[in-house]
Amino acid sequence: MFKIFSPSNIYSLIQKLIKFINSIFFLILAIGLTFALVLSPPDYLQGDSVRIMYVHVPSAWIGLACFSAITFLSVLNFIFKIKNFYFINKSIAPIGLLFTCLAIVTGSLWGQPTWGTWWAWDARLTSMLALMFFYIFYILTFKLLNEEELIIKISSVVAIVGSINLPIIKYSVEWWTTLHQPASIKITGSSSIHAQMMTPLMVMLVVFLLYAALIFLMKYKTEIIRIKKKNIKRN
């Protein structure tokens, strides 16, 4: 059933995908930056500082999405014992950590001109910081432990425990009184963001997703080569 996920089947697809992303990435990046820095209007309250949203929001979304994917694959790995999911998770984690750190740093840079402070121990900011630590613990299991079975067990526990933090991040702005504004974009229900700001945000999200996919493919390709190198003499 899961043979489609085997490294041999995926390797040639990875090559094609990397080439494809490389061919369109800079064009979409140029469009995204033009929209974000030139064409989109300043906010009536926040002025031009609102442009930070175009890098802050996609970073936060990808940071959350990566941890959700890691948790989902860890649970599947527990049930079906598919080792390949472990390699996929190992490739996703650094991307999630990068984007979570970027969301925290750009959020801080956005907070100073709008809230008058770089940091506050507010529910949303603190839960994002907790996510960053979960990513660090998760990556440390790969770096510090040697036995693969033990790494899979401990990293899965970290992912599953860390997943409790995901709904806290999402609903923190509704459950508690926070400095952070409530969500402007909703999957169900109407969003309170104007189309002139929504378009650059979506283009920048595509740019970040393409970048994340590119790094994931390169890291996953490295993992495949590492496994093949280990097994080469056993064949």
Binding site: Q15, D48, I52, V105, T222, K228
Partner: protein, 77 residues
């Protein structure tokens, strides 16, 4: 107009710093990942070179991935 674009009506420092941090971090991660990938490809090829002809044929015959790594390295070198 250009000066407005640079200063972002007083928010230039925050906006440009945010975008710069994001793009520099992403570039650093990209080049580091690419370097690691190249290193592993080279190590794999070096390992392949240490094998005897018979072992090499066996390794390449049984692994599609090994063939593809070899093919890619020939294209890029």
């Amino acid at each position: 107009m250009i000066s407005n674009f640079v200063t972002m009506n007083g928010y230039g420092l925050y906006v440009w710093l945010s975008f710069s941090i994001v793009f520099i971090s992403c570039a650093v991660v990209y080049f580091k990942t690419k370097k690691t990938l190249k290193k592993y490809e080279q190590e794999f090829l070096a390992e392949l070179r240490t094998l005897t002809l018979e072992e090499k044929n066996k390794a390449l015959g049984s692994s599609k991935v090994a063939q593809q790594i070899l093919a890619t390295s020939f294209k890029t070198n």
